[in-house]
Symmetry: C2
DNA sequence: CTGTTAGCGCTTTCAA
DNA sequence: TTGAAAGCGCTAACAG
């Protein structure tokens, strides 16, 4: 831990006025150039002069001033649910941050708590809000009142909304079933996490599993809770076996690991006794025993789409459909 | 993906002027009350009136205006290295965000790229910067020039700095050795990741392992790279066995999983043939085969300390030493 | 095509 | 103890 005191000669901040002076133009012109103001067309010479001055002075516009003036910042607020955030979280931050940065937007994450976050909203004046859960009526009212140009990307398709990620979640479940059935497993189980907070996801993924089972004329999946906090995951395995389940779809790779572990304590092994397929492809999935077959979401495509959606919504343009390309891919290893 | 258009009646934003009017005082008074201005003492009645008005109007101060005025925002910039961010990342975000929020500070993460981030610095005017790598001279100059009150919390202790996390990293390595030796393993190996970007950490943790080996009069650890991207981790295991290594410390849990997997392909099992101990206690560690013994950093304590350091540094107070309590704890399972 | 200018909402002297 | 007022740096009308 180290600290720097204030510099002795606190050189004043470089402002757009400095740039204007250096370039021999007015502040307005500087602003027009820097913002590619559509209403004003600036001759190339002037443009270059301004840009040069900017470079020479190392000028960076003050986000605060710009926000104050425009009434809206360049921040995009990502409101995460109250789930335990796992590997996926880092991935999202990483690529979404990059995708937004391209457009001059900065990602700010906020994890939902029981407390309302309307104050955050007003304090940040974000350019957009991305949510992974539907906002309740109260929250939506808040956002309207706060005059936040509001984009909601949600996992929940209960309302009439387009639903990129929702579709993806269902498709993930379908993909699991498809693979299992292709391998000849016809009586399926589903491994849910005990943590009730993850249920949003589950509902959707499980729903996809159910859909696909129904479509293929299979019995509905046997759902079992799998405790993530430790021991008795063998119970779930026994229950499946009792129902003659031969293949289980896990809500995510952690759950799959738990199932595999439960099987191990029972002296069973995958995929012979029970095939297991996960979701996420966490880094250690390849080191599972046996290496875990799983469905890997293509984060970069998803975040790219999210970023585009935000941009379009900010401009008031109609939102596009999710990309054609699958938002996930099957990674076949040995567990199924 | 759903979108809200602008509200029809865009009710103007609630400002401190509104609060002042509602409370029958001046804007200055509102400001004093809200900021607990030390130079001014406000009678309790006035205070209450203001606070009531704030609540009634649902007023939230504009971060932009405040920043513009004060020249510094309430943002704390966390500059992460260019490593692959794993499970730890989410943990840090989660608890550090909460710890800072208590003090009205908002955490913003920025992952280092080859490009400089000085523009970000000037744009955000953050209240502090937390770095997990030492900043180079250029960057430090930038920060001074940008007049950012600068706090550096670094993993690198090469310069004369206090080093909470550094000590912790070394201590983590020592802790691994301690446990292994207590269990009777005396010839040790060290599992490094192939990814060169993680080396910062490794150096420190490995250093701790070396120190402890030296202190106990053991031979230095046999270091082996472990490829995280797939297959041939068996080579490392063979190499260790050839050197009569009986216990290996892994740089993190993923590396430990890789080692365990390599052993499995060789028909070996832990801890009989080779004991393995990791770092991090990722959620799936308990489901490893065998369940992974590991050193778990106590994130909440670490982030609390980070938050406190930031606060103190912002106030110009001297920085305190890291907390007495160990910053990590041993989680004994079966692999070692 | 470029410049002048009026604020955005807040904090903080300075004066009352 | 409270109020009036001057900006912080920027953008966007409006003039020129």
């Amino acid at each position: 831990v180290a600290e720097h005191g204030e510099p002795e000669h606190r050189r004043a901040r470089v402002t757009s006025a400095d740039v204007a002076r250096e370039a021999g133009v007015s502040r307005a012109t500087v602003s027009y150039v820097l913002n590619d103001s559509p209403a004003h067309t600036i001759p190339e010479v002037t443009r270059r002069r301004v840009l040069d001055a900017v470079a020479r002075l190392g000028y960076a516009p003050s986000a605060a001033a710009r926000t104050l003036r425009r009434g809206r910042s360049d921040l995009v607020l990502f409101v995460t649910p109250d789930w335990p955030v796992g590997h996926t979280y880092g991935q999202i931050v990483e690529s979404l941050t990059a995708d937004l940065a391209v457009h001059g937007l900065t990602l700010v994450m906020h994890q939902r708590t029981p407390q309302p976050w309307s104050a955050l909203l007003r304090a940040l004046s974000p350019a957009a809000v991305i949510g992974v859960q539907a906002f309740d009526a109260d929250e939506e009212t808040q956002m309207r009142a706060a005059q936040v140009p509001l984009v909601t990307v949600t996992l929940d398709e209960t309302e009439r909304r387009a639903y990129a990620l929702t579709q993806s979640q269902r498709a993930v479940g379908r993909c699991q079933v498809e693979h299992l059935v292709a391998r000849g497993y016809r009586r399926l189980g589903y491994a849910w996490l005990t943590d009730p907070r993850v249920r949003t996801f589950d509902d959707l993924r499980l729903d996809g599993v159910r859909q696909e089972c129904a479509r293929l004329g299979l019995k509905p999946p046997v759902v079992q809770d799998v405790p993530i906090d430790g021991t008795p995951s063998a119970d779930a395995v026994r229950a499946w076996l009792a129902e003659e389940v031969t293949g289980v779809c896990a809500i995510n790779d952690e759950a799959a690991f738990a199932v595999l572990h439960g099987m191990r304590t029972l002296g069973l092994s995958a995929p012979e006794d029970l095939a297991v397929i996960g979701v996420d492809d966490i880094p250690v999935a390849q080191f599972a025993s046996p290496p875990l077959t799983t469905v890997a979401p293509k984060m970069s495509i998803i975040t790219r789409f999210l970023a585009t959606s935000v941009l379009r919504a900010m401009r008031g343009e109609p939102l596009t459909r999710p990309p054609r390309a699958d938002l996930h891919e099957l990674v076949v290893r040995e567990s199924a």
